[in-house]
Symmetry: D2
Subunit: 341 residues, 4 copies
């Protein structure tokens, strides 16, 4: 029997991507789409690509708890700071919840407040939150009630870094992550800074050293990699719609060889259906667009005692909606790749 789901915050780009994946999922039925700012409009008004699909005929509604009683799982695709207003009641009502935002990714509320610039209002529910990085946390994801879906940049950085940190092959401190992101990562917003004329034919670094994904990367490197890490993270906005490119500069511990690198990646990812290891080669964003794959390449740079890790994902899929569905597949015992290949 199909599982019922609703989406809170279904009018943004992640929400729309989620709709398009769930639409083709044979075991899922989308019951309602909540979006306060667009309440009363049909999904196909905002996203005409859904014309002539059942998702397109759904109408955005204002959220109310009694509207989701028949749902098995709720996705939240709201800007950070908003999910924590919904999660407590949903969890109390026994619903499974996957939050695509940042509210339940950091267990440390002081760190949360420092980087998100507002207080955490649902700290009591943090212990229930399971970090939804399937390649590293599958056992806890399967029985979880509340999933904190990883950040987009974070996903692109962690999957190449974790095997090397965990295996003690690189220095866990002094990691430099230089990332480029497409504009959909900034969300569906009316803003001069995101207008075509301002973004096209340009590049801009932003939030260098202060981006909220910085503590998330360091926390996960500690929790899953087992090392206290420090990273310098510099994101750049580039004129493409979808995709993240992360170039990561690390210092190898002595004795690291290409063969060891290769073996370590294989050890962790041979059975990971969405990780593609491309070895001593450069990945390209176009090869993962509209997919849930991450492509990971690497360059040993012995002359300078450096290793450069290169990864690409689609920020809306593996960096958001796709990974969320991957988590859901695990939680319901579906095939992990269902509707994602």
């Amino acid at each position: 029997m199909k599982k019922n789901t609703s989406i809170i915050g279904a009018s943004g780009y992640s929400g729309a991507e989620l709709l398009s994946i769930l639409l083709r999922h044979p075991q899922i039925n989308v019951t309602r789409v909540f979006a306060n700012s667009s309440a009363g409009k049909k999904v196909s008004e905002l996203y005409p690509l859904f014309r002539s699909t059942y998702v397109g005929t759904l109408t955005y509604e204002e959220y109310a708890l009694d509207k989701i009683q028949s749902d098995d799982i709720i996705f939240i695709a709201l800007p950070s700071g908003e999910a924590m207003n919904y999660v407590p009641a949903l969890v109390d009502a026994g619903k499974k919840v996957i939050d695509l935002g940042g509210d339940f990714r950091l267990q440390d509320t002081t760190l949360y407040q420092k980087y998100y610039k507002h207080e955490h209002m649902a700290a009591a529910y943090l212990p229930k939150a399971v970090y939804g990085l399937p390649e590293w946390n599958k056992k806890k994801i399967i029985p979880a009630q509340l999933i904190a879906n990883p950040g987009c940049y974070v996903t692109s950085a962690l999957l190449p870094l974790l095997p090397l940190v965990k295996e003690n092959l690189i220095e866990p401190t002094g990691i430099t992550i230089s990332s480029m992101s497409g504009v959909s990562g900034a969300g569906r917003k009316s803003s001069i800074d995101l207008s075509f004329t301002e973004v096209n034919e340009s590049v801009k670094a932003y939030k260098v050293g202060t981006h909220q994904h910085t503590p998330e990367i360091e926390t996960v490197l500690r929790d899953f990699g087992g090392k206290d890490s420090t990273v310098t993270f510099a994101p750049h906005l580039i004129p493409i719609t979808r995709g993240i490119y992360s170039s990561i500069y690390v210092t190898p511990k002595s004795g690291l060889t290409n063969d060891i690198l290769d073996a370590s990646y294989k050890k962790y990812y041979t059975s990971a259906p969405f990780v593609r290891l491309i070895g001593d080669a450069e990945p390209e964003i176009k090869n993962v667009q509209y997919t849930n794959y991450i492509d990971i390449g690497w360059k040993m740079y012995e002359r300078n005692n450096q290793v450069i890790l290169l990864s690409v994902i689609d920020n809306l899929v593996k960096g958001a909606a796709g990974q969320a569905v991957q988590n859901m597949n695990l939680m319901f015992g579906f095939d992990e790749t269902e509707s994602l290949l």
Copy 2:
């Protein structure tokens, strides 16, 4: 001695383009920049490309009539419907005025109201307005006090059409103008529809048959071409920053040959410094970007008794600020091409 000028509405894209041209104009001094919405900010805050130029250090101000007393000429680069609130007092104060917007282009206020969707509040000043298409109205532009600078699409359509209409070589009715414009034509605005993610990798027709440049094209074809004309005008938004491509489908009168076409264009444009005739060839937007040129090509299509005219301009230069400076050069007796080549 230098002429002084101020710009009302200097914070939009046309205003900024105007600033960059006036900055290099040896006979012009920009005294003030008015922009109510940005008052108090430096020009270089909105447009960092002006850093380290005197234009960049100017501060946007709220407009007041007493601030422009020492100016010789005022440019208005406001959305249509706003210039008419400023023009009467400026004209009464004896200032020369060039309005880059649509408020003084149509002498017929009924037509104005129909297409601009609001009443004309300064109809008494319309008789003073001279249509600023230098290639066709130079004699009246030189002594004018108030210039209505042509619309961007209009410029791209009129320059190829006028010689043929005037010389009675094509049917003046049933003209089809299919145009594509870069996004800067929509102005500097915060709007989801103009965001990178919505515009990139897409195309959208808009205001088909209802665009306010339609009556302007027909009026000028009548006034300067001497024929009652009807045009079907369909603009399309395409993912480039600058430029307009107009493909114009007309029916030749009998006997029209390529040689006659060629001779007619030469008759009108041999001494026009910004019109480049490329004959039986296809123009490309990149060849006119950041310039005041219009490139005009044409295709005789005898099989179907059609002629296809193709033109390209930079919407912010020949379609707005460049043409405005061209008009100013004429009004002050400067070289017509000063700071425009």
Copy 3:
């Protein structure tokens, strides 16, 4: 049991798109991929997006007739002029063939030679060719052995035009088709004219009045619409990867109303799974990208006695590989939409 297929010309963009659709088709097995110029390379070398799929591990081969003996159907995705070297032997061998190129679309070899600039070398096989426009020719497609898959521009023009021509609602002559295409339509080629730097931030009309899709449009309007038609067709290259926008200017016969237009489109397309009628609205390319849909809108422009038809498709899907699979689905009795929704 699955059907076996091979692709001749599998290294171009249409071929790759075909691979990606066939890859997810549950009733199809891709046996071989032929591409003389890339023989010996794996598919994933040219198209790394296929890494880790069985299609990616296939190796491009030189074509030989004995290699396709076990296939049920052969797709040909070669430049026009090449398919006719392969089709005769394939047809003689009893294979089903779908040609994505132009070699079998025009029954009139004189017309073919005029527009394709070379002689037709397989004229004897033209009578076997069925024009693969499913919305208009389904009965003949189902039992066909040889399908001539329609041209990309042609598809975008015919689907809006045919109901109106067939129902005698518009003048069949004097039709103006102004189209814009993404760069993938030009194929995977090394050429300065197609380089990023030349195409980006520009637009260029090309082959105005001489494009080989012109006679195809006219022929089909006559054969399926029942009228002798003439069209003026002007394609434009624009800086997007995928998509065609066609703006079509026609003259209505007297008495045509929006209601009649609406009813006529519904009459022909209510049960067409890939035609989305959007009425008096403007379609956008982004809504059909990566899909087999065509969105059709229209504008009655009574003032000038014109109707403007607007359509969008993805040139690689509905304009090529998707439509080819739609035809195959019909030929094998599969669901028409299998792997295309």
Copy 4:
């Protein structure tokens, strides 16, 4: 009196940019344009933007030494490895030469051969070559006969780095330079990899750790900064036409403060007309496009003991043709900024 100049390799993007700058230079006359591959074509055939200028009417010629006898200075804008075939005879003939390529930038021919993959054929002329970075080498540039114009990436990296290395404020080793470049940097070439469809909506790192600009950066940091340096340099190709963004990660020596950073940059660049210091802010490529400026920003990241330097240039102007003209201005005693502001 005007100086005469010819360009060898005038058909590439740097050559065309050079033409457009020299065209507006009041003290320069372009006499001939050499381009073996395009000999016989007019400049305006390859670059129609030059239509109706005297540069546009010039015809590309095959080079011969006797054709440049009346020239005062020769620019060479050829791919690396070719200039060294022309320079010896030009120098022997007493001509001033500015080479925009890499052949005379490295005094160490072993290093040259390692990175450029071919032998140096004109090593005897290396001692005459002066490195053309005006902000750091003006005294030697003024009387020079042969200028090695810096590489584009190199310029973007050196100008932010040199003051800090020279003043001993940062560790000279372990410098990480993550750069993004527009596609014009790859030259005007027919190549599938540079086609619009392959580059658009994607990003690709290339030559990571092996790019020929790596030894150039290190050499200049030693020669002008006075320290033995090592840099890890990773260039990325991004879908814009013009511009380079360099994000540079360095380790401060103890005691470095924002004030010291600020003072050091001012010390070296207060009178540098093309260096704009933007302090603790992020530069954007669009602010320097079509200009000879470099914008430099920086971020102290005390938490991780890092400083991040951010710079932007137009690769064809400050990264190539503009800097070459800046050098020429110095060599002839013209105003350093002539035709570059």
